[in-house]
C-alpha cells in the first residue's frame, strides 16, 4: 500500500523467554484512527513502544513515512506518544511540565502554544496545582497535551480512556475526533472494543502477541449488526423473492447457501411463508444478535478477556 504512512512487517519483540509481540504485520494510512484491541498482556504497549521508538524490535521492520526505522531515526520525531502512564513530573504544575518539553523542542512563543494546548485538552491554564494531585482524567489530558507538543503527524495513545468516568471518556473521544479532523493520524489501544467503537476507522485485534484480525469499521459494524441468517438451496431465487415480495433491500449473500438479512423488524415467519409459497426450501432461519464485546471475546477466547 503506497499511501500507508506506517508499515509494520514481521515485527516481533521477545523479552527473555516471553514473546510479547509475535510476527505482526499491518499498515496504517494517513488520516486513519487505528484501534488496537487486546486483553491485558496482549502486547499492545510493547507494540506501540516499538512504533514510537522507545524500545527496539527483536526482529522485523517498521517503516514510517516510507523510511525504514533503525535506532534514533529522525522520523520518530513526527510521532507524539502517550504510552502507558503519561511522563510527567509529579511535583510540577501542568504548565511547567509542558514548558519543559516545549523548551526541549525549541519551540518559539511557548506560552501561546502551551495555552492553546491546555485549552484544546480542556485543562485550566492558570491551574498551579502540582500534577501529583490531579485526577486520572486530568493526567490523561495533560498526557495528550504533552504528546501534542511539537505538532506530531501521528499520535499514539495507549489506553487513553483507561480509568476515566463515562463523562471523561466521551470528552476524550470527542478530542480524538477533533484531532483527527486536523489531519493527525491516530493509533489508539484499548482492552475494551466498545470504548473504541465510536471513533476508530480500522481495528486490529491483538492476542498473545499476534494480530488475529484486522477489520474496518464498516465490516465490524456489519458483523455485529442484528441480522436474520437464512440457509436455503437457491440463493438467487431467494434474493428475488426477498426483494420483490417482501421489499427487503439490505441483505448480503454470504455463500451458496447462506444469506444475511439486516432488516430485522420483519418476522421470520413471514420470510418462511413467502419462500415456501415459491417452493424454496428453507434449511434454517435464525435471528442473530452479537454485541461488539461478544465479537471481541469470541476471538480472544471467551475466558473473560483478561488473561494475565
Amino acid at each position: 500500500m503506497s499511501n500507508a504512512i506506517i508499515e509494520v512487517k514481521q515485527l516481533s519483540k521477545q523479552f527473555k523467554s516471553n514473546v510479547a509481540v509475535n510476527n505482526v504485520n499491518f499498515n496504517i494510512r494517513k488520516g486513519d484512527i487505528f484501534g488496537l484491541i487486546g486483553p491485558n498482556g496482549a502486547g499492545k504497549s510493547t507494540l506501540l513502544k516499538m512504533i514510537g521508538g522507545l524500545i527496539y524490535p527483536s526482529s522485523g521492520e517498521i517503516h514510517l513515512f516510507d523510511h525504514t526505522m533503525r535506532e534514533n531515526h529522525p522520523y520518530f520525531e513526527r510521532m507524539g506518544l502517550l504510552i502507558e502512564e503519561a511522563g510527567i513530573f509529579p511535583h510540577y504544575s501542568a504548565y511547567k511540565n509542558l514548558d519543559l518539553i516545549a523548551i526541549s523542542y525549541g519551540i518559539k512563543n511557548r506560552k501561546k502554544h502551551i495555552e492553546q494546548l491546555l485549552e484544546l485538552v480542556g485543562l485550566d491554564k492558570s491551574n498551579k496545582t502540582k500534577v501529583k494531585n490531579y485526577s486520572m482524567g486530568m493526567k490523561q489530558r495533560l498526557g495528550i497535551a504533552m504528546a501534542l507538543i511539537g505538532s506530531p503527524d501521528v499520535l499514539i495513545l495507549d489506553e487513553p480512556i483507561n480509568g476515566l468516568d463515562p463523562q471523561g471518556i466521551s470528552e476524550i473521544r470527542q478530542l480524538i475526533l477533533e484531532l483527527n479532523k486536523t489531519g493527525i493520524t491516530l493509533i489508539i489501544s484499548s482492552h475494551i472494543l466498545e470504548e473504541l467503537s465510536k471513533v476508530a476507522t480500522t481495528y486490529a485485534i491483538l492476542h498473545h502477541g499476534k494480530i488475529i484480525e484486522i477489520i474496518s469499521k464498516e465490516e465490524l459494524l456489519l458483523q455485529c449488526e442484528d441480522r436474520i441468517e437464512l440457509e436455503v438451496d437457491d440463493p438467487k431465487m431467494t434474493v428475488l423473492i426477498l426483494e420483490n415480495h417482501l421489499g427487503i433491500q439490505r441483505y448480503k449473500v454470504i455463500d451458496d447457501h447462506t444469506i444475511y438479512v439486516y432488516e430485522t423488524d420483519i418476522e421470520t415467519q413471514q420470510i418462511i411463508q413467502s419462500l415456501a409459497e415459491n417452493k424454496i426450501f428453507v434449511h434454517s432461519i435464525a435471528k442473530h444478535k452479537q454485541s461488539l464485546e461478544q465479537y471481541f471475546l469470541e476471538r480472544t477466547g471467551s475466558s473473560g478477556g483478561a488473561d494475565d
Partner: protein, 254 residues
C-alpha cells in the same frame, strides 16, 4: 542538544532540592572545620598545623580524608537528578526527537559538571568563612598552584559524577545506586584494589584509579603529578561518557 540542555538546565536551576543540597553541604563543611579546631592535634614531623595551612593545603587535607563528603553529595545528586526524570517517565515526551538519546545523556553530563562546579564554589566559600572564623586566617597561598589544584580536582570530581551516572543508568533504581555511589566515595574499591595489587606485584597501577587519585595528596608543582591527575580525569571522563551514551542508545525504555 542545545534545547535539551536548556530544558535540563531549567529543571536544574529551578529545583529547590539542589539549593538545599548546597546549603546543607555548606553547613556541614563549616561544622567540620569547627570540629577540626576543637580537636586540632599537635602535629608530627613533616606535617603542618591547620592554622598555618593555605587554602590549597587545606583542600588537599580535607579531600584526603575518607569518607569524602563532597563525593557523597555528588553521588547522591547524580542519582537523584537522573532517577527523578527516569521514574517520572518524562523522557518519553522528547526521546523520539532525532539523536535525543545521545543528547539527553550529554546534557545530563554537562549538568553534573555544573553541579560539581557549584559544589566547588560552595566548598571554597565554606572553607574561607570557616577558616577565618575558627582559625583566624583565610590565606589562599600561591594562586597558580591553587588554580591548578582546583581544575585538576574539579575534573576528577566531574568524572566521578559521570561514573555514578553510568551506574544509575544501568541499575535503574535509586537506593542501590546511592549505595554504590557511597561505596565508591568511601574508596572501598580503590583500597581493596590497592591491597590486592601490593600482594601480587610491586607495581602501583591502582594509584591510577579515579578515587585513589582524588584522595592521594598530589604536588601540583610536579609535572608528573599534574599529568597523573589530568590524564586520569580525562580518561575516566571520556570512557564513562562514551559508555553512558552507548548504553542509552541501545536501552529499551520503559
Amino acid at each position: 542538544m542545545i534545547n535539551l540542555l536548556k530544558m535540563d538546565l531549567t529543571r536544574f536551576l529551578t529545583n529547590k532540592i539542589m539549593y538545599v543540597f548546597l546549603l546543607v553541604f555548606i553547613a556541614f563543611q563549616m561544622f567540620g572545620i569547627f570540629m577540626l579546631k576543637q580537636y586540632e592535634q599537635p602535629v608530627e614531623a613533616g606535617e603542618i598545623l591547620i592554622r598555618r595551612m593555605n587554602e590549597s593545603e587545606f583542600i588537599q587535607m580535607m579531600l584526603a580524608q575518607t569518607p569524602s563528603w563532597i563525593l557523597m553529595y555528588i553521588a547522591v545528586f547524580s542519582v537523584y537528578f537522573y532517577m527523578s526524570e527516569y521514574n517520572s517517565g518524562f523522557y518519553k515526551n522528547y526521546i523520539s526527537m532525532n539523536n535525543a538519546r545521545r543528547n539527553s545523556v550529554l546534557s545530563k553530563i554537562l549538568i553534573l559538571g555544573i553541579f560539581t562546579l557549584f559544589m566547588f564554589i560552595v566548598m571554597l566559600i565554606a572553607d574561607l568563612i570557616g577558616r577565618s572564623l575558627f582559625f583566624q586566617q583565610a590565606a589562599i597561598g600561591d594562586s597558580g598552584y591553587f588554580v591548578k589544584l582546583l581544575i585538576g580536582q574539579f575534573l576528577l570530581h566531574w568524572a566521578f559524577a559521570i561514573v555514578v551516572l553510568c551506574a544509575v543508568m544501568m541499575i535503574k533504581q535509586a537506593i542501590p545506586s546511592i549505595v554504590i555511589g557511597i561505596i565508591l566515595s568511601l574508596n572501598v574499591f580503590g583500597m581493596v584494589a590497592g591491597a590486592l595489587e601490593s600482594l601480587v606485584s610491586d607495581t602501583n597501577l591502582s594509584a591510577y584509579l579515579l578515587v585513589n587519585t582524588i584522595v592521594d595528596i598530589k604536588d601540583f608543582d610536579q609535572i608528573n603529578d599534574v599529568v597523573h591527575v589530568v590524564s586520569v580525569a580525562i580518561i575516566f571522563l571520556f570512557v564513562f561518557s562514551i559508555i553512558a551514551v552507548r548504553y542509552k542508545r541501545k536501552e529499551d525504555l520503559r
